[in-house]
């Protein structure tokens, strides 16, 4: 199986290198092989990159999960303080609000405008939406 695959790759390489050597007079079958091979190379490159990104993503996800677990363990060790803090946080919410929105480099007025536009586009009342964060994309 591997030998056959190697042979096929060698044949394709031969055709493409022939194509390269006579760029001025490329035949239609040679052009077809070059096009298919080129498309395959693009896929190959991006698939390998995808695998690398999945691996690094998995590493960072597991690191985040460990950090979260450690944080929760620390919280369990000192349960009294958060219990007291929770009602204080709830008291700060406006009536009917789904929660706080984190703003990154966005003034309050612009955030309010963006939320209103989103609600209008979605044809959904604003109090039924929960905005988690708004960040300026530069």
């Amino acid at each position: 199986m591997f030998d056959k695959l190697t042979l096929a790759v060698e044949e394709i390489t031969e055709v493409t290198s022939e194509a390269a050597s006579k760029g001025d007079e490329l035949s239609i079958p040679e052009a077809g092989v070059t096009a298919v091979f080129g498309y395959a190379v693009v896929f190959f490159g991006l698939v390998i990159l995808m695998i690398v990104l999945y691996c690094t993503g998995a590493y960072f996800k597991s690191r985040d999960a460990k950090a979260k677990a450690a944080e929760e363990a620390a919280k369990k060790a000192a349960p009294a303080a958060p219990a007291a803090a929770a009602p204080a946080a709830d008291q700060k919410l406006a009536p009917g609000s789904a929660g706080h929105v984190k703003l990154f480099d966005v003034p309050d007025k612009e955030a309010a405008m963006i939320m209103a536009i989103v609600a209008d586009k979605m044809q959904t009342p604003l109090n039924e939406l929960h905005f988690i964060s708004i960040k300026e994309v530069k």
Binding site: I28, A31, T34, A35, G38, G45, G57, F60
Partner: protein, 406 residues
């Protein structure tokens, strides 16, 4: 002083005489074409930042360069660049000859010829791009790869229409929907086609909101277009810093010919993400990008001299370019549909069409079409993943074609 003789000398040296003798009518047509391009850029806002410069470069060269006329005062000299590319000429690859005898646009064009401007534009694009959606959903890379289908189909079509391998490769890359990549590859492989290819690439990029939606509607069902996608995970700062380093190492090792484009793209992105070079990131995104855009636009426009541009090849390039764009969209959508089926309907296939680079226009089109089908649909960030993957994909496609045909 003999007034009549002086008047005759002035008349003989004027462009007005050249316009109405010999092949001057071709220049007249090109002056009209440049006015149409200016109209499209200014009034219709077709990629105005580049198209206005390209159109004015086109106007300048056709007002000052006449075949068979006096070219001493021309801003751009086709003959000098032909000598530059002729291995049998003493001025072969001699930038000194260009500097000594060239006009203003010849000197600016050196930056295009040496591949400097497209690479610097890529640096700015990297500094402006958030790769977070791609890092959060690496599957987007498949859509970016699939959307390069038009590049290779147009390449094949160009060979069938009688173009050489180098010319076909340059025409095919229009399907990558990435202006700097198209300019970079064309200057290396088929510089005589640069004007037509650059104009086709930027015009079609501007026309994406008109070209893509009918294809999207044709290839997807209403139900597929309504699919709401789950919010992607949050990407940490460290991941964003590591990403450009990994991509640069991996892609350049795979295809060294992509080094100028991918290297600059990822350097710009690293400046943006690392958090300690904000001044550089800001300069690259704004000042440098604007300066390079000025030089790139006007010098690319200068390559549209009438004697070179007005040929049946230009019409073929425009048709093949449109074909490339359409098939790139088809490729992205088809793989989007496959991913939709395999994921059990969790992926909206509309994001596939954003795999043609054209950042962020193609992603916006996916968002608009998705929202037309379902007002609660927000596909923009999901479509940005394939969109930026398309930038990397088109650079790899260009690298492959360069490696094969250079």
């Amino acid at each position: 002083m003999d007034i009549l003789e002086t008047l005759e000398t002035l008349w003989n040296g004027s462009g007005f005489k050249s316009l109405f003798t010999g092949e001057g009518w071709k220049n007249l047509i090109m002056i009209f074409v440049s006015c149409v391009l200016l109209y499209l850029g200014i009034k219709k806002k077709f990629e105005p930042l580049l198209l206005v410069g390209i159109a004015f470069g086109c106007l300048l060269v056709n007002l000052s360069y006449f075949v068979g006329g006096d070219t001493a005062d021309a801003l751009y000299h086709l003959d000098l660049w032909d000598n530059f590319l002729d291995p049998n000429h003493p001025d072969y690859h001699s930038y000194g000859a260009i500097m000594a005898h060239g006009g203003l646009l010849d000197i600016l064009y050196i930056g295009v010829k040496a591949g400097v401007y497209p690479s610097l534009i890529f640096m700015g694009v990297g500094a402006m791009t958030d790769f977070g959606p791609l890092i959060a959903n690496p599957k987007s890379l498949l859509l970016g790869a699939a959307a390069q289908m038009g590049v290779f189909l147009a390449f094949f079509g160009a060979i069938c229409l009688g173009f050489t391998g180098q010319e076909a490769a340059s025409i095919g890359i229009i399907g990558g929907a990435d202006g700097p990549t198209a300019i970079f590859l064309t200057t290396k492989l088929a510089p005589h086609l640069l004007g037509a290819i650059a104009i086709a690439a930027y015009s079609y990029m501007a026309l994406i909101p008109m070209i893509q939606p009918p294809i999207m509607k044709l290839l997807t069902t209403e139900k597929e277009r309504q699919i709401k996608m789950e919010q992607a995970r949050t990407v940490s700062k460290t991941e964003k810093i590591i990403f450009p380093i990994i991509v640069a190492m991996f892609v350049i090792l795979l295809l060294p010919s992509t080094a100028p484009l991918i290297g600059c793209l990822m350097l710009g992105n690293l400046w943006r993400e690392c958090g300690v070079t904000e001044r550089l990131s800001d300069t690259v995104q704004n000042a440098l990008m604007n300066i390079v855009t000025v030089f790139l636009g006007i010098s690319v426009g200068a390559t549209t001299a009438a004697s070179r541009f007005l040929s049946p090849e230009t019409i073929k390039i425009i048709v093949l370019g449109l074909t490339a764009f359409c098939f790139s969209t088809v490729g992205g959508l088809l793989v989007g549909k496959i991913m939709c089926k395999l994921s059990g309907g969790k992926i909206n296939p509309l994001i596939g069409s954003a795999g043609v680079s054209a950042v962020p226009m193609a992603a916006r089109v996916s968002q608009m079409e998705g929202q037309k089908a379902n007002p609660k649909n927000f596909l923009l960030m999901h479509a940005m993943g394939p969109n930026v993957a398309g930038v990397i994909g088109s650079a790899i496609a260009a690298g492959f074609l360069l490696a094969v045909f250079k």
